[in-house]
Assembly symmetry: C2
Homo-oligomer: 210 residues x 2
């Protein structure tokens, strides 16, 4: 096939790097499927089989399943934060907050059924203080959005740690998945209800508009 | 010893029953200590040793550790609900709600460090619909309190499933333990802040009194 020729012309080091990234992506996608299907109870061999790679290849990426799950969770938070930050600032901190919440819910509806099985028993603030990089990344994205809501007068000033803890708690994947699966709510309704609840919890008057 | 004489006069069946209940209590208390200390990774033999009973006795109560943890969690929710329901109705649904929330936080500060390790990956509403008796017991205690708040005009009417889900989410043991351990808040402050947040989330105007 023609692409074979092109590929042969590629430098060997670049091809190896590309194959490495491709098998990593396949393994992380496989981890998501296995988690959603059967929870966290699978071996690295199961993961390799689900990803369609050899067990030896899986071991080149991850020494064990917990490390693979950490990598899956890290990548997912990175993607979530990137998508949240891609929401245009716009003229209005409140409208941006609402849009960011909707991005979060739409993401959580997708990966929630997998992620509910990798949640830590440690608290959000506990991990933040232990300088967990994933939690730090999420906090650093969310705290300024709350500060902007307060600066613009939409909510009263709130300590960042309490405000962010409340936000991540109400938008927990388990809550989103539960509303989606148990009550049959579509993502848009979940986003509307949870956003209303968190804004009121943060002190925005019920029924306020604009 | 003198009590030995009294004990010898007790009917054998009653003594056996009493010893059975005592060893069960010891095993459930041991489960709480082990969970808080090392999470859920221990064997039934470890549990028996921690409780000071023989492994054979432990097996007479529980076929395996997950069953013991279920029994621990069931007993704990039963105790929590009993203590909530023991809060006097009084003249005012709001004051009772505040008192119930404080009971919850005080309980959660005590057993939270253990319970964060036995939380289910399944959603609250999902377990309610699957007729999980423990979740049903909690829902049946909480839903009428929200209805009374609404009847008395303190919050707008809220669908019971969404309102209770929000309440149990905000009062999650992980949140309570996190505020206690990471921010050093005493139980009274945690109760005040979380109760304010959930009441506002449920639609009570911020700053409202009485």
């Amino acid at each position: 096939m023609a692409s074979g020729t092109v590929r042969d012309e590629e430098p060997r080091s670049r091809r190896i790097r590309r194959d490495f990234l491709a098998s990593r992506r396949d393994l992380l996608e496989a981890a998501e499927r296995l988690l959603a299907k059967q929870g966290g109870r699978f071996s690295l061999t199961d993961l390799a089989a689900e990803a369609g790679v050899s067990t030896a290849t899986a071991y080149r990426h991850f020494p064990d399943v917990p490390t693979a799950l950490d990598a899956y969770y890290t990548q997912l938070v990175e993607l979530l934060v990137t998508r949240m930050e891609a929401v245009p600032p716009g003229p209005d901190a409140l409208r941006r907050f609402v849009a960011v919440c909707e991005v979060w819910v739409r993401e959580a509806v997708g990966w929630g059924p997998a992620v509910v099985h990798v949640r830590s028993s440690r608290g959000f603030l506990q991990r933040l203080r232990a300088e967990d990089p994933v939690i730090g990344r999420l906090f650093d994205a969310l705290a300024p959005m709350l500060a902007k809501l307060a600066d613009a007068g939409f909510i009263p000033p709130t300590p960042a740690d309490y405000g962010v803890l409340l936000w991540v708690t109400v938008f927990d994947e388990r809550v989103v998945v539960d509303l989606h699966d148990s009550l049959g709510w579509p993502a848009a309704r979940i986003a509307t209800e949870l956003t209303g609840s968190i804004l009121r919890a943060l002190g925005r008057p019920a029924g306020a508009t604009g």
